[in-house]
């Protein structure tokens, strides 16, 4: 949990994928409503850069998305979260997790043989 999406940088977002995330949802304050003036605008630019990176390395750009919400929009948060989870379920496991599963299965088969 970060106090402001302005603290997010590209490396942090990519690290989530390295750590096994199938998707990353970034939720910032409403644009124009940042306590730190433009933290959420900066976050959006960084999310877009990661979007481009994921597209280039065939992980899939749709696995990352930024939403803007106010702190009082709990039901909207839940709706966005459900929407994003649905999107990731449709995409399936990330190629990283697919590769890890394949490697683990091959290793266990080798050990059994």
């Amino acid at each position: 949990m970060l106090p402001c999406t302005g603290r997010i940088d590209e490396a942090l977002l990519l690290k989530a994928f390295e750590n096994g995330a199938d998707g990353v949802m970034v939720v910032g304050c409403l644009e124009g409503d940042c306590h730190y003036v433009n933290g959420n605008i900066r976050a959006r630019a960084r999310v877009e850069r990661v979007y481009a990176i994921l597209e280039k390395i065939d992980i899939g750009p749709d696995r990352i998305r930024m939403y803007n919400l106010s702190a009082g929009e709990g039901s909207k948060f839940a709706a966005y979260a459900n929407e994003f989870v649905e999107q990731i379920l449709e995409l399936g496991p990330s190629p990283i997790n697919v590769a890890r599963t394949t490697t683990a299965q091959a290793t266990s088969q080798e050990e059994a043989a």
Binding site: D9, E10, A11, L14, K15, F17, E18, I53, K56, I57, D58, I59, S94, P95, I96, V98, A99, R100, T102, T103
Partner: protein
């Protein structure tokens, strides 16, 4: 500062393809300021390479390093204890830094992660522009602080050519005529007499035309 741009990730992946463990080395100097080769860019590039390689079924081990400067021996030497434990070094410093690493670590392949650009300034965040070509014979005191070698597309020394139209260079509508800028500035400074003081011929032997250059400061050795 020395500017640069990242190489396309596809090109970098092709370069590192033969290797299973590499160092990604950044530099805290110019390339950090122009956001192409600093500590953060090392983290992003290393993560990107690890993800791409693992997704392709062949993992790569990466050591992330960021030196104070890759163009000074005392910082480069900090890599010596571990550099031979890795199959290659992918440097995202400028071309000078990359070559200096290659000179120091002779048995380790060096790979460039960026395309080095020019000596320039930050006009605004994300936009850099060339200002100096390091010609070795500065005349900025005579040209209102605007370099004719760099700002004139032809590096002319004696006023604008016929391709200057209403202050714009013929090469591109977004490029201002360097000599128009110089004359405007000299007029504003009331220094138009400097216009006539320019040397009859510029010696280019101190520029790149004389081959690779070296500065020797006897007082510092």
């Amino acid at each position: 500062m020395i500017t640069g741009t990242p190489k396309p990730i596809e090109e970098i992946l092709e370069m590192v393809e033969p290797y299973d463990n590499i160092i990604v080395a950044g530099c805290h100097g110019c390339v950090t300021v122009c956001r192409v080769g600093g500590e953060k860019e090392v983290q992003v590039l290393a993560s990107t390479l690890r993800l791409a390689r693992e997704a392709s079924g062949r993992k790569i081990e990466i050591k992330e390093v960021s030196l104070e400067r890759q163009c000074d021996p005392e910082y480069v030497e900090l890599m010596r204890p571990y550099v031979e434990d890795y199959q290659a070094v992918l440097s995202i410093a400028c071309g000078a830094g990359i070559q200096f690493l290659a000179e120091k670590f002779t048995v380790t392949p060096l790979l460039p992660g960026i395309n080095t650009g020019f000596l320039g300034v930050t006009e605004r965040q994300g936009e850099w522009a060339e200002r100096c070509q390091g010609c070795g014979d500065c005349v900025l005191h005579l040209t209102g602080g605007i370099c004719p070698v760099t700002r004139c597309a032809k590096s002319l020394f004696h006023g604008p050519c016929g391709g200057s139209v209403r202050g714009i260079c013929e090469i591109d509508k977004d490029v201002k005529c360097g000599w128009q800028l110089i004359v405007d500035r000299l007029k504003a400074l009331d220094q138009m007499d400097n216009y006539g003081k320019l040397k009859p011929y510029k010696g280019w032997d101190s520029a790149r035309h004389g081959g690779p250059r070296r500065i020797l400061r006897e007082d510092m050795i």
